[in-house]
Symmetry: C2
């Protein structure tokens, strides 16, 4: 019951709305700037990760077909394919984050007249908030996962585009940390202690590792 | 003469092309990922800065009209206006960076038959490369300039949106450093030693300061 209700609210609110990825860059930023809380930092984290994937893909594409890099040809083709898939998924995550936020808002609007309703509403809020923590956690992991490809293209890719690899590394780092802020703010409202403990551990590990990896990649950028 | 020639090439190449800011987010990233070097890291730096401006503006807009923050009302309205102007300028810089890169490419295509042509081509390349260094330097300065507003909204703005301020700080930091990579790679091809020295000094100063300011702002984010 609860889930159906949520789904109704949800469809009503976002059913007619354009996918964020289909909006123009200008309109998307206009919508970000407005006093509507979505898209917010979580969606921007996904966008930042998608941008990192795109830039890395570009460096791979600028390496493919170049005589000087013929030995890297197959590796570059393979990584470009993986990056394309990651980019497409991350673009969908721009909406997914906004949707998960909307679902929390809708759960708060559930009726709270009877005791049963109050309980159902509490549960719905908890479930929606867990989802609102897990969506950016997934984005953080995906952005983190880009670092291996970024390091590879910085070292083996077309050196004329090496700064684009550096930019990709920084965009991915910012995507990871931005997504993790959105995990943490949701954890504060979750009562399931085991869930909070498990997710907190993952957050801390990703936060620590990503800063080290970013520095490591940037140290390999030769200008 | 040289400049007119460049302008012709330029109009031919980009005249019929849609403004990058008018493309959908998905198409913009598709174009980034392609084996066309533009848009590249320089345009992404401008986009990242525009995103930071938009998120900061959102926090200001989520503060305006709230009883709890009535004392900040005027300050928030003022900063929102400044941020809107910065965002619009930075969206235009996405194209400006791509254009400056194209102009370098066009200068390389100038005729080099006679000695006069060879000299003119060399000068054109040097001038275009200087511009390709100065455009991202301007973006870096604009992104750096956002940090004051970001710190203000993190401290005084709606605390429910404080993580959006944190994301804005990291997006602006990444914008500054990304733009500076694009300055540095161009400096390597510029023969005017005085120009290189002056710009290098500015780069180093911005690089050092931005990391400190980012950490300072993030330390003020209370979760």
């Amino acid at each position: 019951m609860k889930k159906e209700l949520l789904a109704d609210y949800f469809n009503e609110k976002r059913g007619g709305i354009e996918m964020l990825g289909n909006m123009s860059v200008t309109d998307f930023l206009e919508k970000t700037a407005s006093n509507d809380p979505v898209p917010g930092g979580g969606s921007i984290a996904a966008l930042s990760a998608a941008t990192a994937a795109a830039l890395t893909e570009m460096v791979a594409n600028l390496t493919i077909g170049k005589k000087k890099y013929v030995e890297m040809e197959e590796e570059m083709k393979e990584v470009a394919k993986t990056l394309l898939a990651a980019r497409e998924e991350l673009i969908r995550d721009i909406d997914k984050d906004a949707d998960s936020y909307d679902q929390v808002m809708q759960a708060f609007k559930l009726p709270k007249e009877t005791e049963e309703e109050i309980d159902e509403r509490k549960n719905a809020i908890q479930e929606a908030t867990k989802k609102a923590a897990l969506v950016p956690l997934e984005v953080a992991k995906k952005a983190f996962g880009l670092m291996e490809a970024i390091e590879m293209i910085v070292v083996k890719g077309n050196q004329n585009a090496v700064t684009d690899g550096a930019v990709a590394a920084m965009m991915a780092r910012t995507a990871v940390l931005s997504a993790l802020y959105n995990v943490k703010i949701n954890l504060g409202s979750i009562k399931d202690a085991a869930f909070v403990e498990k997710v907190s551990g993952e957050v801390t590990e990703l936060e620590t590792k990503i800063e080290v990896i970013e520095k490591q990649i940037l140290s390999k950028v030769q200008l």
